[in-house]
Amino acid sequence: MGYNVNAQHKLVIDQVGKVFTTKSGEVVALDRTSFSVNEGEFVTILGPSGCGKSTILRVVAGLEEPTTGQVFMDGKKVIGPGPDRGMVFQSYSLYPWLTVEENIVFGLKLKGISKKERKDIAKHYLQLIGLEGFDKHYPIQLSGGMKQRVAIARALANDPEILLMDEPFGALDAQTRAIMQEILLKVWEESKKTILFITHDVEESIFLGDSVYVMTARPGRLKQNIKVPLPRPRDYQVKSSKEFLTLKSELLELIREESLKAVTS
């Protein structure tokens, strides 16, 4: 039941599966999986730990070759990593020897964009993520939330077609995490980027996403796609609305079954 390469889909994941060969045998990390993401859409993938979420994202990023299937970005087959697909890891992965500003414009410098233009772009993103005045700081001087904002700005400043985020707020405390979600939504509404966002947090997947893909326990497969009909722009208060809570309990039920499988298997 593969996907036709369709012009209106920004990203098409077609029958992608991944088997890792390890010393102790073969590990099926991801069963054949197909789905697509539209231009400007915010899609979240929700699944228990170890179900292959990172694997999907790494295949899309071109950091991992799929065992079966293929990925199309703007109709073109993905064969390796490239600047059209920006990435944000959970571990921030900032360049510790560069200042905040230099981190943000790293990709632009590689492209040979002029110094003046880089400065302007950096300024714009520093403002967008609320870190004006931190441009000359080094990553070691920042908190986790600030580091992750810089990592997001760095990915966006490169102007990718899609932003891939692998549990970006997973290492942050609950309060910071909630604030980061709001900042991300603001940034997304402003930049109109397509985002594929991975999380194991039910609330986060609903609050951020236009649609949520729920995955099964390993070997991961898509179990269900749930549209999130909540209006935009959203702020934190939506989390206590009735629609939100109904969706949340529905998703909690789905994910609970899978987490149980993951724990007992």
């Binding site: 390796g80 990593p81 697909r85 992965s93 990709g107 590689l110 080094y138 070691i140 490169n158």
Partner: protein, 265 residues
């Protein structure tokens, strides 16, 4: 003042810390005084401290020692420089390209256990008794360890940093120049500091045969003419020169890598 003196890993007062080091030094000096002034050891083998000091002053006054220091320093410096100029790039390549590691790691791992001193006869046969032979010994004594240590440093560059760089559009060459090199630079400077220290320890070995100048030569001559005080002065000068170069590297490290400290540059 005596607080925490036996508590593992607890900080103690500065006075206690420095006092302990000073006391050890005093005990060492005291033992020396006791053995020499007390007449327990024949002065032919162990000179008195004051004789060593007087000899040192004489050597510096007459100026003859400066020539020896100069020539020894240049041997150590150029031998080591050559090792670093080849070893650092090679180590970086071995740490990043599996092909280079496969090609060079086995042979370097093998040669590094061969004693540099045992190669002296071979060096003499190949390149004669000149300066080149002395530098070759220093080179041989440091090159292999240095290369392997740089390889390890480079290998430890976080994989996610490299992956992020690809998604920001880095080409292979840019990856070396803008990511791997700056990320490994602190480790490389530290490796150079440590191996430069070893280079000094190979000096006497290098000047053992066929030398007519240098600190090692001076030490050998003094031994021949039964002047232990001169030997001790020579050893101390080598130690102090080693200490000074170590300090220089530490200053370079501190000045260059402010981004590693929370208080910045």
């Amino acid at each position: 003042m005596w607080k925490n003196i036996f508590t593992p890993k607890k900080d103690i007062s500065k006075t206690l810390y420095w006092g302990a080091g000073f006391t050890t030094f005093l005990i060492f000096l005291g033992t020396w005084c006791l053995l020499s002034y007390g007449g327990f050891v024949n002065p032919l083998f162990l000179p008195t401290p004051d004789k060593v000091v007087v000899t040192a002053i004489e050597l510096f006054k007459s100026g003859e020692i400066f020539g020896d220091i100069g020539i020894s320093f240049s041997r150590v410096f150029f031998g080591f420089m050559l090792a670093a100029i080849i070893g650092v790039p090679l180590g970086i390549l071995m740490g990043t390209l599996r092909f280079m590691e496969g090609a060079f790691e086995p042979i370097i791992g093998f040669i590094r256990y061969m004693p540099a001193s045992a190669f002296i006869p071979l060096f003499i046969l190949w390149i004669g008794l000149g300066e080149t032979e002395k530098m070759a010994v220093i080179f041989f004594g440091t090159f292999f360890q240095l290369t392997l240590m740089v390889m390890d440093v480079t290998k430890n560059v976080q994989n996610e940093l490299i992956e992020i760089s690809y998604t920001l559009g880095a080409k292979k060459f840019q990856l070396f120049k803008s990511v791997i090199l700056p990320a490994s630079l602190p480790g490389i400077v530290d490796t150079l500091r440590i191996t430069f220290g070893w280079a000094w320890t190979y000096l006497v070995v290098a000047e053992l045969v066929g030398a007519s100048s240098g600190l090692g030569f001076m030490i050998m001559q003094a031994s021949r003419f039964l002047q232990p005080e001169k030997i001790i002065v020579g050893i101390m000068i080598i130690g102090i020169l080693g200490l000074i170069t170590d300090l220089i590297f530490k200053v370079i490290y501190r000045k260059s890598f402010g981004w590693m400290r929370k208080d910045g540059v």
